[in-house]
Symmetry: D3
Subunit: 135 residues, 6 copies
Amino acid sequence: MVYLTRRETFNAAHKLYNNKWTEEQNIEVFGKCANKNWHGHNYELFVTVKGNPNPDTGFIMNVKDLSRIIKKEIIDKLDHKNLNVDVDLIPENIMPSTENLAVIIWDILNPLIKDAILHSVKLVETENIFVEYFG
Amino acid sequence: MVYLTRRETFNAAHKLYNNKWTEEQNIEVFGKCANKNWHGHNYELFVTVKGNPNPDTGFIMNVKDLSRIIKKEIIDKLDHKNLNVDVDLIPENIMPSTENLAVIIWDILNPLIKDAILHSVKLVETENIFVEYFG
Amino acid sequence: MVYLTRRETFNAAHKLYNNKWTEEQNIEVFGKCANKNWHGHNYELFVTVKGNPNPDTGFIMNVKDLSRIIKKEIIDKLDHKNLNVDVDLIPENIMPSTENLAVIIWDILNPLIKDAILHSVKLVETENIFVEYFG
Amino acid sequence: MVYLTRRETFNAAHKLYNNKWTEEQNIEVFGKCANKNWHGHNYELFVTVKGNPNPDTGFIMNVKDLSRIIKKEIIDKLDHKNLNVDVDLIPENIMPSTENLAVIIWDILNPLIKDAILHSVKLVETENIFVEYFG
Amino acid sequence: MVYLTRRETFNAAHKLYNNKWTEEQNIEVFGKCANKNWHGHNYELFVTVKGNPNPDTGFIMNVKDLSRIIKKEIIDKLDHKNLNVDVDLIPENIMPSTENLAVIIWDILNPLIKDAILHSVKLVETENIFVEYFG
Amino acid sequence: MVYLTRRETFNAAHKLYNNKWTEEQNIEVFGKCANKNWHGHNYELFVTVKGNPNPDTGFIMNVKDLSRIIKKEIIDKLDHKNLNVDVDLIPENIMPSTENLAVIIWDILNPLIKDAILHSVKLVETENIFVEYFG
């Protein structure tokens, strides 16, 4: 088994705000992330697949196909968007935390990657915070 | 003259949208950056000052003082904010482009840095785009 | 299970020198790292915890709490210190290698992280050398 | 078990071109990577070993020994070379893909690392693509 | 005057070899870079333009236009190419050193950038070597 | 004129402590940097030279020569050393601040670089602080 990782990037706005809570509770738990007019990030997304290299190509899967799938299904839907407002793939009752976003990205990509096995989704929110999900 | 640079970071939402134009004009000029519900970035701010090292300290100015000024005057006002909506230091009729933001940051910091001479403000919007202003 | 990683940094001096050995033996094994007046590094510490996102917050654990624990228990005790001389949390008979330091950091953090499960401690000594410990 | 990683770098030319196929098939599968006069990369190689720290040194294995083995067996043979033409350690019928190269590097290093256990070989081709192999 | 920089990347093969010299002279001067079957790099190109922000857009020039010009005129011609063999924009008697390449890129871009003034071309060959040209 | 930059790295211990002052004054001015048992950094040194490319080589000066001079005169004397105690090239009455160190490195390198003109010395102390000197 060899593991292949492709990086893509997107820029998005979001806030962490639980509508079931008071303003005070939101600020207590989410701090500055609860700012009602949103803030934003340059996200880095690393998608890792695994498999055995094909003798004819040396590839687990063609990294251009992997990139095309990620761009079409994830980047085109999240880039330059508001994760709380604009994005159908995040259900309305789901907090757009980096943790939840990584799981949602996995669930979208997993059935679409047919030439190899999806191994992990890593989502970098800032240089100091990132999240990984392995299914 | 020796040049000293301090890096600070902030995360913010913004959009590029000229209210004097139609939606179509905005999309033609600003593309995805005109998304009406905003997007966002992890900004990196590099502030450079110049001067002669003090023989007692070896410092042009104390980098902790420089950091404190940048944090109080810029980071605390921009971090986890919406640059179009939340931020008093960006006048309402000024587009919150990275270019304009660098000039605004210079104009705020310049009178406050007394122990050395402000040389430049560099603002990194993404890994592929940055802006510099020298006054 | 989702994995969440927080990065923190500290700057410290250390040397690798076994007092049971001669100067020559120390230089043979540790090379320049045995310099008797110490040298130093900018360390990067990555702490990874795992758990299931809380439906109300989208968090495995609040990354601000994780950061606060790491800063109070590790960074405040190691930053701008001499790892051989100043630091109580490294026992005197333990070599302050990056390997041993990662294990010590794990042992300190593990009982203090209650909202999630500690998964790994990664300690980067230089751009070319890093260590990981999984308990 | 503690895991220790050493990074080394090399610069090399390669192309992805299957001689059993037509020019058209090669361009369809490999795209620009099939350019007949080659292209090239700055490769980053991360070799990870695991073991228990030695009480006298605090080391899993001496990172200088690890570096020396990687440089002698891998870097000296790949750096400033053409991976398709110049390099004996890549068999002629094996495509010099990053996947295959990671496996070849593992197979060379594994019997030579005696003081610890080889855990993984990670090979970074560009900032957007990397491969890992765990044996 | 505000300065705006756009980064683009390309991967290429090259060698440094002066056909007027003997093999020995080439190896003495260029070392491993003279390897007759080429080697390669991941190049990073930073193009900086300067001007005054337009009040309607906040832009010196539209960074999408700058990116499009760089991609069409430079990246599409250099990416996944052999700089000694494949590339018309490098004259045959000109050594494809990073220095010469930066000058050539400047000379191509300078007449094409009309909305702002070209300020500098920076070309990064490895993490340890880069070149800048200011016209 | 083309500008060529070479990066080298070194790891060193230092403290900022003025012996003419009391302990309290030192802590007030230098904070944690005054820790009496030192701390340390991974320093990155960027040396930039300028000149006209030689038609035979495409080089301003041979980057291997530049690297050799920097390593022999600077890195070998600073790497894995204590900048306050071990290093002859820093006079005893000069504070080993990054500012002073950049000036000292310039003064050493300037007469030794004969094939091109020394343009700048940049010294990176942490990811958040760096210094530049232009003579």
